[in-house]
C-alpha cells in the first residue's frame, strides 16, 4: 500500500487533494494528513512516504521550508514532493523545482491534472 503525506493548513484543501489523488489512481493509498510542515516532518520520522504533497503557505513550518528540510536529508532523496499552491507562476515554479520539488501545481487542482503526474511517478 502506498503511503502519501498531505500537508496543508486547510482541512478543505486536504480533503480536495486526497479526493483528487484517489480519483487519479491512488485510491488504495494510505493518506496521512499534516496541518503544517512541522507535522509533516513528524510523520516523516516514521520513514519516507511514497509521495509527499504540500501546500506552500502554512503556519509554523511552510511548504518551502519543508521542501528544503526534507531535501537536506539523504534518506528522503528519492521521495517525490509535489507542491500545490495558489501562488504559482513561472519564477516561483523554477525556484521550487531547483529546491527539489518533483512538480508544482496550481490550485484549484483536478484529477485530470494529477493523472499524468502520478503516471510518471509509477
Amino acid at each position: 500500500m502506498k503511503k502519501v503525506i498531505v500537508a496543508d493548513d486547510s482541512g478543505t484543501a486536504r480533503m480536495f487533494i486526497i479526493r483528487c489523488l484517489q480519483i487519479a489512481g491512488f485510491d488504495g493509498a494510505q493518506f496521512m494528513e499534516a496541518k503544517n510542515g512541522a507535522e509533516a516532518l513528524t510523520l516523516l520520522e516514521q520513514g519516507p512516504a511514497d509521495l509527499l504533497v504540500t501546500d506552500l503557505f502554512m503556519p509554523e513550518v511552510s511548504g518551502e521550508e519543508l521542501l528544503l528540510q526534507v531535501r537536506a536529508q539523504d534518506k528522503f532523496k528519492a521521495m517525490p514532493i509535489l507542491v500545490i499552491t495558489s501562488a504559482k507562476n513561472p519564477a516561483k515554479e523554477q525556484e521550487l523545482m531547483q529546491g527539489g520539488a518533483y512538480a508544482v501545481i496550481s490550485k484549484p487542482i483536478s484529477p485530470s491534472i494529477m493523472v499524468p503526474i502520478l503516471e510518471a511517478l509509477s
Binding site: 493548513d9 486547510s10 482541512g11 478543505t12 484543501a13 480533503m15 480536495f16 479526493r19 480519483i23 503557505f57 502554512m58 503556519p59 499552491t85 495558489s86 501562488a87 504559482k88 507562476n89 513561472p90 519564477a91 516561483k92 525556484e95 496550481s106 490550485k107 484549484p108 483536478s110 484529477p111 485530470s112 491534472i113
Partner: protein, 197 residues
C-alpha cells in the same frame, strides 16, 4: 482606491476559475445590480499580499450561501455544516482566488508572496477597498473586496475572454479558462462523472 481594469478582469477570471474548479459552481458578475451590503450574517476571509507590493483580497458571503458552497465542495455531509467547515472552505477559496489573481497580474519572471487567511463575521469593513459583486446560478451573492491597485504590474491590458460580454457559445457566463477541461477527457464538470460523489 479604484482598481485598474486589469485587476477587475483578474478578479473575475480568478473567481470564475476557482468556483468552477473547486465547487462546480458557475458565477457571473453583478453588472447592473448593486451588491447587498445589508446582510448581517456574513462570514469573510482576507488574505494579504506581502510582496511585490502590499495589498489584499477578501471574500464574503452569507452563511446560507456558505453552506451551499460547502455542500458543493464536500458532497453529501454526514453531519450539519459546522462553522469550522464554513470558515475553512472560505479560507481556501480566498487563498486560491488571490493566488490566481496575482498569477495574472504579476509578470512571469517575478514572484509574489501571500499571507495566511484571517477570518471574521459580520459586514467586513475594509475602508477604501473596491467591492466586486458576483452571483451564483441560484442567486446567492459573493462579494470580493480588493485593494490591489499597485499590484497591476503588467505593461499591457490583460486578456480575459468572456469578460464583460457573452461567451462564444452565447450564454451569459464568462469564460473560465483552463478549468473548463480540468475534470477529465469527457470535459464534464458534473461531479458524478468524475467520481466525486
Amino acid at each position: 482606491m479604484t482598481s485598474s481594469e486589469n485587476v477587475t478582469k483578474a478578479v473575475f477570471r480568478a473567481m470564475s476559475d476557482t468556483f468552477e474548479g473547486m465547487a462546480f459552481m458557475q458565477i457571473s458578475r453583478l453588472e447592473d445590480e448593486s451588491p447587498d451590503t445589508t446582510a448581517d450574517d456574513m462570514i469573510w476571509s482576507r488574505v494579504d499580499v506581502k510582496a511585490p507590493a502590499p495589498g489584499f483580497m477578501a471574500i464574503a458571503y452569507t452563511r446560507e450561501v456558505g453552506v451551499r458552497i460547502v455542500e458543493s465542495l464536500y458532497g453529501m455531509l454526514d453531519e450539519p455544516c459546522s462553522q469550522e467547515m464554513l470558515q475553512d472552505s472560505l479560507n481556501e477559496i480566498v487563498n486560491t482566488v488571490i493566488g490566481r489573481c496575482m498569477s495574472l497580474l504579476v509578470p512571469a519572471g517575478q514572484t509574489f508572496e501571500l499571507g495566511l487567511p484571517k477570518t471574521g463575521e459580520g459586514w467586513p469593513d475594509f475602508e477604501g477597498a473596491e467591492i466586486h459583486g458576483f452571483s451564483t446560478m441560484d442567486g446567492g451573492q459573493l462579494l470580493a473586496f480588493t485593494d490591489l491597485g499597485d499590484l497591476d504590474l503588467l505593461d499591457g491590458p490583460l486578456e480575459v475572454e468572456g469578460f464583460g460580454g457573452k461567451s462564444s457559445d452565447g450564454d451569459e457566463w464568462g469564460d473560465s479558462g483552463d478549468s473548463d477541461d480540468a475534470w477529465g477527457a469527457s470535459g464534464s464538470q458534473d461531479s458524478s462523472d468524475d467520481g466525486w460523489g
